[in-house]
Amino acid sequence: MQFPILSVIIFTPIIAGVLILLFPAERKTEVRVTALAAATFALGLSLWAYFSYDIAAGGYQFVEKFEWLPMMGISYHVGLDGMNAPLLLLTGVVMFTGVLISWGIDDRPREFFAFLFILATGVFGVFVTLDLFMLFFFYEIAVFPMYLLISIWGWKETREYAAMKLTLYLFIGSVIAMVGALAMYFTSGLDTFDMLELEKAGFSTAFQQLWFPFVFLGFGVLGGIWPFHNWSPDGHVAAPTAVSMFHAGVLMKLGAFAALRVGVMLLPEGAKFWMVGVICLTLVNVVYGAFIASVQNDFKYVIGFSSVSHMGLVLMGFATLTKTGFIGSGVQMFSHGVMTALFFAVVGMVYDQAHTRDIPHLGGFRKFMPMVAVAFIVGGLVSMGMPGFSGFVAEFPIFMGVWQSYPWVAVIGAVSIVITASYIIRIIGKVFFGQLPEELEGHIHDVTVLDKVALVFLSGILILLGVFPRLMVPLVESGVENVMRLLGGV
């Protein structure tokens, strides 16, 4: 039997989380070291899985399958393909850097890391699962620690409101999707929740058209689709740094990914039928999100809304139902994940020093934290889709896909690029290069070495992927082949 690498990846965080809970509360350093060790381990394994995936062979690899609830046809079934391998890696990366960035948390770090790791397990689980029930199982596991993480360690002003809003939104979305999943289960008559089986169920067109919106939008809520994106900026802003990173970096991908896996892949006819509508919604996401981001004064809200805009692109790529669109979305999920993690890390570092996120009250941080400034610039360039960075290699195919299906959408959507550029430049100029406000004089210090490691790591990935898209694109392409096959080569 081969080494159950996916299971090990899934359960490493939760085991570490439980272990951490067993430490006495005062042993903060031990807690942190354990957390870092576990995160490094998970990252290493996900890297290994990512690079040992055999692209030529394609399909699902590292498959593990056990009966879980055989009477209902529920099994523990995990596998890696081209679509989820980058996301697995992304989760590893964000987890690792998240732990580095959170080193300084002093209020109950034990609980913090434990909850964070439970969340990570949920995320890993959703990405690699091939069973519909399991998907919901892990999905919920990923959602609820968010509530505690935000409400306990979040920003005092809004954390209670934001945490509750976020949890309820996501929960609503997932349970609505769950009803759709149950409908699929019973209609298929196959007595199985195995998605690979359900793919072959041959649902009637009417059925698919009826249920697709429920499933797609249900998950789309977590993907931040307009008009259900509302939870997301509030949640981002209220969350502590590492949680924002996880949240925007990974969790939103969870929604998009599940919308793809369950919505598009299991209900392809429904997808074809509804795509015009979806693409309109995502267009609003892309343009409106960017616009709203550009008029924000709160640093974190800017990033929060930019996530809405970028996630709109991911979903837009799906909605094109074209090969290039899917490839772009696949890469964009990874790229945006890393980028936004970087952004939130930077925002957190700035906030930690300045104790304000009000952009007009910030300035001149370059002098004190040059590395942070450079990292933010890299993130900003990715965000505006600057060639040479990963954002470009992701967004370009998305737009190409859009051209193939709805050219006018591409033209309107492209406006967001200029808007994004304008606000990113504004922030760079003001926060990092502008004049240091007097009240901050002498209060700003450079970040720690661990922070720098995290920043370099994240920016490095963005540049590397931008220069060598080959590192990821063929992999994603192999995954997309499968999606296209289900769509019947639209």
Binding site: F396, F399, R426, G429, P469, V476
Partner: protein
């Protein structure tokens, strides 16, 4: 050696990155070491380019030294680079101007390390644009070049000056200028990006030589519209992007701001190379990909070019800021490039076209030399006087005769004095376009007249007239480093002016192939 010759272009393209990496590991306190290493390292691409220049086979048509590697397989974009006569000229220009700019930047005191790194990245971006034979790779470098330039202006631009933006808020002029530069160019690129996507979607490839064959021949309706409509839209998307970059009137307003606020070396590169990117785009992409549309719309383009020439000259004449004067002169001079291109597009295949085109490409090179020189000279006097206001100067010739001489020489080259380089190219352009756009060309001659006027006015205000007493004893002569910067430029100006064949030879072959 085999490796070098087979990957020469890649080496040229990425040696600046290598240089940047080396600078990166030098401690920031070692400023002098950084400066000298930068200078030495910037000679690597120059040396390689020179070997390329001599290795380039002038008798062959088409692209040489081609290299191809997988880059983005999913959308059929590959790392495909190569040179022909046009791009070779531009690469040479870039490679020459970079070390000179670095030498000119020795006076930079603030954050030398970051400055040099950005400079090398900028060079890489520019070289990439000239070398790319893949539409997507081209775009990558096209956009990438913006970033370092933005920061060079934003961070090392002139520290004085404020601009009022809407709402009455005042922001530093360099912030304003850099932002304007970025947004203008990005907005222009947007259409370009969309058009590139369209082409990619329709043709299934981004490879330029292949697109040359497929795209112009495309017949079937696209996106439910007649193919000609779609192509016209795409043509204008390309044209707009390049027109902003050149810049052609009325898209030029970013240029005076950016030039004025940029640091001296930044202005040199900006005027010397970056403006050429736009014109190069016309030559490399617009004409071959849209022969029919170019032909059809050439008149409009020619009109814009003439307006650029005339208004550029007028505006330049009206300036009291020395640097702004030079900046507007760029609009004026680049207008000739576009005029040549428009004329060539309008009379495809004729001898006139060939001449105009040769003129345009040569004008690009020449303007690169003279504009870089002019901006440097403005920088030299600014460093000493901390003012660029022409009214503050006057009668400085006796104080700084060497500087005066160099300024006169460069101005004359810029003005188009026979015997110097400007004359050759402008003459070729005018000669080529006269039979094609007689009226436009005639109007352009008025512009040329004013070119003479503003340049002479500039010289007069700085060097001649009553001596402004405040500078006596405060103004030092141009120093050796600065002369070293100017010397190669002047040599080239003279050389091309006297014997342009060596470079026209290279250009001509490529231009002939273009049609």
């Amino acid at each position: 050696m085999d490796f070098i010759s087979s990957h020469l272009l890649t080496l040229i393209l990425f040696s600046p990155v290598f240089a940047a990496a080396i600078i990166f590991i030098i401690p920031r306190e070692q400023e002098n070491l950084i400066r000298w290493s930068a200078l030495v390292l910037s000679c690597i691409p120059l040396a390689l380019t020179i070997s390329l220049w001599f290795g380039f086979d002038r008798s062959l048509e088409g692209f040489q030294y081609q290299e191809m590697a997988v880059w983005y397989s999913a959308i059929n974009s590959s790392y495909h680079i190569g040179v022909d006569g046009i791009s070779l000229t531009m690469v040479l220009l870039t490679a020459i101007l970079t070390p000179l700019s670095i030498l000119a930047s020795f006076s930079i005191k603030d954050r030398v390390k970051s400055y040099m790194i950005l400079f090398f990245l900028l060079e890489m971006g520019m070289l990439g644009v000239f070398l790319a034979l893949d539409l997507l790779i081209f775009f990558v470098f096209w956009e990438f070049g913006l970033i370092p330039m933005y920061f060079l202006i934003n961070q090392w631009g002139s520290e004085k000056g404020e601009r009022e933006i809407w709402g009455g808020r005042k922001i530093p002029a360099r912030t304003y200028a850099s932002f304007k530069f970025m947004i203008y160019t990005m907005a222009g690129s947007l259409g370009l990006l969309l058009a590139i996507q369209l082409i990619g979607v329709v043709s299934g490839t981004f490879d330029l030589p292949e697109l040359y064959k497929i795209w112009p021949m495309l017949e079937k309706p696209l996106l439910g519209l007649p193919v000609s409509t779609v192509k016209s839209i795409a043509f204008w998307a390309f044209t707009l992007a390049f027109a902003i970059k050149v810049p052609v009137w009325p898209f030029h307003t970013w240029l005076p701001d950016a030039h004025t606020e940029a640091p001296t070396a930044g202005s040199m590169i900006l005027a010397g190379v970056l403006l050429k990117l736009g014109a190069y785009g016309f030559l490399r992409f617009v004409l071959p990909l849209y022969p029919a549309e170019s032909n059809y719309f050439a008149g409009a383009l020619g009109f814009l070019a003439v307006m650029a020439i005339i208004f550029g000259a007028f505006a330049s004449y009206g300036q009291s800021d020395f640097k702004r004067l030079v900046a507007y002169s760029s609009v004026n001079h680049m207008g000739f490039v576009v005029l040549g291109i428009a004329a060539a597009a309008h009379s495809v295949g004729s001898e006139n076209a060939n001449i105009a085109m040769n003129g345009a490409v040569l004008q690009m090179f020449n303007h690169g030399l003279s504009a870089a020189g002019m901006f440097f000279l403005v920088g030299v006097i600014y460093e000493r006087t901390h003012t660029r206001n022409l009214n503050d100067f006057g009668g400085l010739f006796p104080l700084i005769p060497v500087y005066g001489g160099i300024l006169m020489f460069t101005s004359m080259a810029s003005l188009g004095l026979p015997g110097l380089n400007g004359f050759v190219s402008e003459f070729l352009v005018v000669r080529g376009s006269w039979p094609v756009f007689t009226v436009y060309t005639a109007l352009a001659m008025i512009g040329l007249l004013f070119t003479g006027a503003y340049i002479l006015r500039g010289i007069k205000q700085v060097l001649h007239g009553p001596l402004n007493e405040q500078w006596v004893g405060h103004l030092s002569e141009i120093n050796t480093r600065e002369i070293l910067v100017m010397a190669p430029l002047m040599v080239l100006m003279l050389w091309i002016g006297v014997w342009p064949a060596w470079i026209l030879d290279v250009i001509n072959r490529a231009v002939a192939m273009l049609f």
